[in-house]
Every structure is written in C-alpha cells, then in structure tokens.
Amino acid sequence: MTMEEALIENLVLGNDHKESMKKINENLIQYGLTPNQSKVYLFLTKTGEKTASAISKSLNIPRTESYHLLNSLEQKGIIFSIFGKPTKFNSVPIDDALTIVIDNEKKRISDLELKKEKILTLWETIPKHVEESENPDGNKFQILQGRNSILVKIERMVKTADKEMLVLGSDTNFIKFYHTEFVNLLKKTKAELQVLTTFSKKGKFALDGLPLNNIKKLDESNRHNFSFIIKDDSEVVFFINSGSSELMAIWTDSKSFVSTLKSLFKLIWRKSAFVLEKENKFTKNMSEDYDHRLREIEQEKVILDYLQQNLMVKKGGKNE
C-alpha cells in the first residue's frame, strides 16, 4: 500500500471515525445499497472526484467490479461521471443521496403494487387444478422473521378482526415497534381491543396513543418473558425471544393454540387492574366531575362544622 493509499484509507475508514463510518455503512445497506456500493459511495463522498482505477486500487476492489459498482450507483442517481480522459466520478451530497434512494424505493413499491393487480388479473384467467383444502381453518403455522413481516401479518389480523384483539407482552417488547405503524394499526381495529402490558415508566411510551381504557397492567407475577397477539378465536402471533436482534414470531390459526393462549389472557385480564386511573379522568363523564366537586364541598363543610363547633366550645369555655 502506497503512502497515498494509506492516507486515503485512513481518510475513508478514518481511525478516528471508524465506528461512525461503519454505522453509516450499515445504514446505507438498509437503504438498499450493497456493502461494496456503500463503500464506493462513501469513498467518493469523503475524497471527491476519482477515476475508476483509483477507486479500485484504494478500496481493493477488482477493476471490473468497480466499473459495475460505479455503473449501478450512477443508475441509482447518487454518483455522477465527469467527462474527460480518463473519466472521473463524484458523488451527490449524502442528504440528497438519501432522498434519492428513498424516492427510488417508494417508486419501486408503488410499481410493485401496480403489478400486483396485473398478476392477480392474469391469475384469474388461469384454470385451477388444485382442489380447495378440506379444512381451510386447519393448523397452519408460519414463522415470521423481521419486524416488517410481523407488522404485515398484524395489519392483516387487525383488518379482519371482528370480535376482539388481545395483546399481551411487556412494553420492552413493544418498544421494538416504536416508530412503526404498530400502535396506529391497533387503534384502527373495529374489534374490542384489550392490552395487557407492564406499562413501565420507561417503556410505556411505546404504546402512546392507545386508549388507556383498553390497557391493563401486568403485575410482577405475570411478567413472563413472552408476548402474543390474538385475533378473535382464530389467529395468534406469538413472539419468540431468539436471542438475535431480529424480531421473530410464529403465526398460527391452530384452534387449540389460540384457545389456550386466549384462556391464559382472559385469566390474567380478570385479575389485572387498569393502568393509571388518573389518566382516565379526562374521559370521565360530567356526572363524575360533578360528584367529585360535590364531595370536595361536603368535605369543606364537615371540617368547617367541626372547627366552628370546637371554637364555640372553646369560646363557651372561656366565657364560663
């Protein structure tokens, strides 16, 4: 490695900022870039315009691959080439690049939604050869991996629930869904919603927005390390603590599984108390507010009578 290459590597991977660069790199991968695309993009963003050859050498990527990478990044719209001999490349500033990548993803999703209709229409034209299952409500199991696939399943459950949605779990589990549509989905349900959760001081924000009338607090004895969501008498999503950072859950429509968990839920629900009643005060009706004020006045009167009586006794005593 030449001195210049070493300097560049230090600049890109920067000993001082190695951790930050690593995190940015990981995040860019979540934005749909491959690890090498992310590496090239960050290199150009940090060092400015470079030839394909310089990029290839500095990042230790084979020349042919670097051309592919540059080409794909250019197609994504986050780098551009500068005419000349040899051709040089430079990057779009990172904030613009992120906006471009997000817009691309949105466009891709909307294209997929359009294609879905087309595929379904085509599918209808194909004659069916498979017989309908004799037991459509049979014991189906499905492993859901990752937050998004779990959310998609919950969304389907919420939309089709007509009786009740029962949610049990510690709020630390629900924190993993913070900044997602999780709470909004539950709020949208037309079925009766019952939530049993730890509602801890640190974690209750994860359920912000849910009506408190629907939430009961899991007490210490019931704080088992499991969470599940039940829809009517028909489906359940059971969260698994796999130990990895990725969320995992099992979805099933097994009647025995659903009814066992539902019995457990109902048992705990009966024994549990609603969360802070104080926050319900805003939803109390006028009559309760009136009763409250009336009791305050009565209390004032009781004390006043007592004080007057005692003062009279004292005065009377003095006079005597």
């Binding site: 609603f274 009781v302 007592y306």
Partner: protein, 135 residues
C-alpha cells in the same frame, strides 16, 4: 394559625408533623386549622411537585395526599416515592374526592399505603388515621 386552641382530648398525645398535599386551598387551610387545634404541626402545599420536594427534604410523621391535582398529581407522587423512597409510602393517607376502583385500592394496599379515604371524611376518623400511623 394559632396553636393555642387545642382540643382537650388530644393534648396528651405526642405532637405530630403532618404534611398536607391537596390543590383545594379551602380544604388544606381547614385541615391545617384542625390539626393546629389538635396540637399537631402541619405543613401545607397545594402543588404536587412542591409536595414531592418537601417529602424528599423533610421528615414527616404522616402525609395526607389528594389524588386529583393539576400537573403533578397524587399518582405521580406515589410513582416517584415507589421508585425513590418506598419507605415513605406507609406514612401516606390518601384523601380523595375521586371514585377509586377496588383494584386500585388493592394496589395502594400492596404498595403499603396506610389508608385511602374518600371525601367527605369525618374529622375524627382522619385524625385517628394520622395518629395510627405513628403508633
């Protein structure tokens, strides 16, 4: 409020240091007067936050606490004490005009709270609850 007026039946009892936390100024003034008459020392605050600070910095024999107060209410005070100084919970007498569900009363009991009284409460009953704590 003068300490010279005292009810004869309480003159021999030890002098207690009582904190009243209630946003209703009429009630706090009157309870304070009645405690004065009973020869007890009384500190009054009409704001929950101030109440928490006082509990942290002073020693009281008994704390009469209202639940429904603006900003920092009785539940928040109980939360704070549960987290920071649970030993204070046994000194608390809840005096509220709210309807308290039986589950909540059980919860108060589990926390070790001395009593939960609904307004209007008989004055002798309140005094007996206050003195019971120290006994």
């Amino acid at each position: 409020m003068s300490n010279t007026i005292s009810s004869p039946e309480n003159q021999n009892e030890s002098r207690l240091n009582v904190l009243i936390i209630d946003d209703n100024e009429q009630i706090t003034k009157m309870i304070s007067s009645f405690l004065d008459m009973s020869n007890h020392e009384c500190t009054v605050v009409n704001d929950g936050k101030e109440g928490v600070e006082l509990i942290k910095t002073h020693q009281f024999d008994s704390i009469v606490l209202d639940l429904a107060m603006p900003e920092c209410d009785g539940y928040e005070i109980l939360d704070t004490l549960q987290n920071e100084d649970p030993s204070q919970l046994s000194k608390i007498i809840i005096l509220t005009a709210s309807n308290i569900p039986i589950e909540t009363i059980r919860k108060f009991k589990d926390l070790g709270i001395s009593s939960c009284l609904q307004k209007p409460v008989d004055i002798d009953q309140l005094l007996s609850k206050i003195t019971d704590i120290t006994n």
